[in-house]
Symmetry: C2
Subunit: 458 residues, 2 copies
């Protein structure tokens, strides 16, 4: 909010971005510079995908000179940022990292190859370097990995007057909304929301005015759990402590929003058998490399379904209508299975379902499958009768539909619960398992029934 003109509506923003885009293309750098000073870095970031590679580098140079590079790059989508970081000189990147808040700098460094990361760290001054090196030790997806060390912690014996004096002198850093209070050994003992400053008397000590019980998380907590805590208690920031309750960092709500979006993308991608490294504009060859292994696994399981069908070649050759009905069996099982799977995976992700209630969820999905199987079985039975004028075929379709949707409910719930039980991601690869189960199970019941009743079908 401390930046120049913030544009308030789409039309204005569009116009300003287009203007800047034209100025860059024309090479009117003085005017571009002027424009950059007036726009919010997040809006300048929006321009990058529309620029040619050389223009992107020119813009980064200008931003760097205007000391806006850190704030602008930070607002880029991850995939684009990774590409651009490859092209920025080491010296500049080191400068940019020192201007970022430590948590963002660590993210930037995390995108680089190991060797280059070391080189850049070597270019950073001792103090920030040490801070970054400590942060880099935490796994990326834990509280330690997403926290910043840029926070205000003050000893409990300080007075309100001294605190205000301290804050006035402090300049750099992210927006401060809370001051954390620590005891002599650095243990977190309380918090002061700065908005409450107006209520305090200058000579009161922090320990008298602080809120003594603070929601906190440990460095080792998984990032999605941190997001749960922040969402659950409606926090703007959550302090991070080590195993001895010493305050070591803070996670702010804007980073939590990123985590929530990242986790949602991950679940969606895993349900669709996609790698989380992929984005809509990932280069074609890389997309192929990322998707192909999944497709090959799917091919292997599709062959399982084909093998099931091959058991019944003789039956099908005698009554080809069965081959016509096969896509219906597979399609319905797949769809119903995906429904159950998605409800359970999302329930687990949102914390609406924990493992202890697994049996309840499983039983529910089976019953839903049974009832939906009856409804769709009746409809399909009637259609099959009208189509082939064969009551036995209609009955086989009716029972096959029920069996198929019960299998879909059973495996749609069982697979993600089983993965969670094994401490794996409940979404990962689950749709392949479920589809295999509905295909194989569905064909077995459908073609098995048909084989038993073959003499009535012909």
């Amino acid at each position: 909010m401390a930046f120049g003109v913030v544009i308030m509506n789409h039309a204005e923003l569009d116009q300003a971005q287009k203007m800047l885009w034209k100025l860059i293309r024309l090479g009117s750098l003085a005017q571009v510079r002027n424009g950059l000073r007036k726009m919010h870095p997040a809006d300048v970031a929006g321009l990058f995908p529309h620029l040619r590679a050389t223009e992107q580098l020119t813009l980064i140079d200008l931003l760097f000179e205007e000391q806006l590079a850190a704030r602008t790059l930070k607002a880029l989508p991850e995939n684009l940022l990774k590409e651009l970081l490859e092209k920025i000189e080491d010296q500049k990147l080191a400068m940019i990292c020192t201007r970022l808040s430590p948590d963002d700098a660590v993210d930037f460094l995390g995108y680089l190859p190991e060797e280059r990361k070391e080189r850049i760290l070597g270019l950073i001054e001792a103090k920030p370097k040490q801070e970054l090196e400590t942060l880099l030790l935490y796994p990326e997806d834990t509280a330690g990995g997403i926290m910043t060390t840029d926070f205000v912690a003050l000893p409990e014996y300080l007075t309100v007057r001294e605190t205000m004096e301290f804050l006035r002198q402090r300049k750099r850093g992210e927006d401060v909304f809370y001051v954390y209070v620590v005891d002599a050994r650095g243990h977190l003992v309380g918090v002061l929301p700065l908005r409450n400053l107006v209520f305090w008397e200058p000579e009161q000590r922090l320990r008298e005015v602080m809120i003594p019980n603070v929601v906190r998380v440990q460095t080792t907590m998984q990032q999605e759990e941190v997001a749960h805590v922040v969402a659950q208690y409606d926090l703007l920031a959550v302090p991070v402590v080590d195993e001895e309750n010493k305050l070591v960092g803070v996670i702010t709500v804007d980073d939590v929003i990123d985590v929530i979006e990242e986790e949602a993308t991950e679940d969606m991608y895993h349900l669709a058998n996609l790698d989380t490294d992929e984005h809509v504009f990932t280069p074609v060859l890389r997309s192929v490399r990322l998707r192909c292994p999944w497709l090959l696994v799917n091919l292997a399981t599709a062959i399982l379904a084909a093998l099931t069908v091959s058991l019944f070649e003789e039956t099908i050759s005698q009554y080809v209508a069965l081959a016509v009905m096969m896509p219906i069996v597979a399609g319905m099982g797949g769809n119903a299975g995906t429904q159950s799977l998605t409800v359970v995976v999302r329930g687990l992700a949102l914390g609406e379902l924990d493992f202890s209630q697994g049996a309840k969820a499983l039983f529910k999905e089976i019953r839903v499958g049974l009832l939906n199987g009856i409804v769709n079985g009746v409809v399909m039975g009637v259609i099959a009768y009208v189509w082939y004028h064969n009551l036995w075929l209609a009955m086989i379709m009716f029972f096959a539909m029920i069996a198929n949707l019960v299998i879909a409910g059973l495996f749609g719930a069982l697979v993600p619960l089983g993965l969670r039980w094994a401490k794996l991601d409940p979404a990962l690869g689950s749709s392949i398992f479920v589809t295999t189960a509905t295909d194989v199970g569905g064909f077995l019941v459908f073609l098995g029934l048909a084989t038993m009743l073959l003499r009535y079908l012909k």
Copy 2:
């Protein structure tokens, strides 16, 4: 954060919740009351799913008496809250609504049937009632529908001293982090982050110390766009203005987190052909009612696929291996289509892709489909040859796989882009369209080729 003991780790929280649960079951209400005062309302909320219906009502009564009902109910998941609201007496619910912040009260009222909503509004005092009635006029999923009217706006000519005086006297309301500054006609002209209070002199006027350009949204903006704005600019709150730039409300970041989770759920659910009203523990019959229409639509499109196959009954009856290969064609097309679909839907949702880049995304998905088709086609061709010792079948599988995955990429991108172009939800029903396209297209190519080359197959 203003509540009693906040429990900091899972084990402690678990223990405290279990203790409270036991006390409720035993009916030791005095001790329950004592426990409630010590726990965070969000943690008490976590107890509800584990209680019997009568216990839930007892707990609500106790919470009501302790003036904790509003804050606790607010933290419940939507589906459970809806159920409980049905059981709370009108008078109590009206009281609870007045204790909620207006945006939450409007959410609660929105869950009620029209007639009961009117009755409850009738029980609320004139002033808050009018506020709620105004908020209820905005569509639920717009900025107007999620904003609160509980914010601080002060005229620009006020001094810092007067502002601090005002804040000291103000009691009720959500956490205040920003004071908004308005001109004589109520137009939003600036913002004061309260943390900056320490930097100001008492006699300065607000217009001198405020940040003049504020990111703002209009009442009509869609909630997912609001979430984009807040995430993009890393805001803690965003002011909402009407078409004349008059400040009418504020949206805080905790509500934005809810929007982001809601939108992610919606996309996932729509990709899986689920209604957003469903949750993991929605009662069985209601789940059946919500899923069945989708399954019937899917049945209709599966019949289209079956009709396609029926065009080739003669071919299949002469060479049954084709029926065996069918699940592979359908399965691979479905999986590849879902991959393309998910990448495009998520790209649109995260704003990484806008409609103007649609052709680029479409073209990319087609090329990915082509290359993946070649890889999987070779693998499948070899397998088909080993299986049936027929080079023609292997070649048909090779070409069918390529055609099928190109169709998957084409429709996987085209369907969500088309839906967005028609101003519909890009995820809604899209997987049914895509699967139909890959099934029908895949079978046409596969069985069509087989029919043309039938004499070499036999």
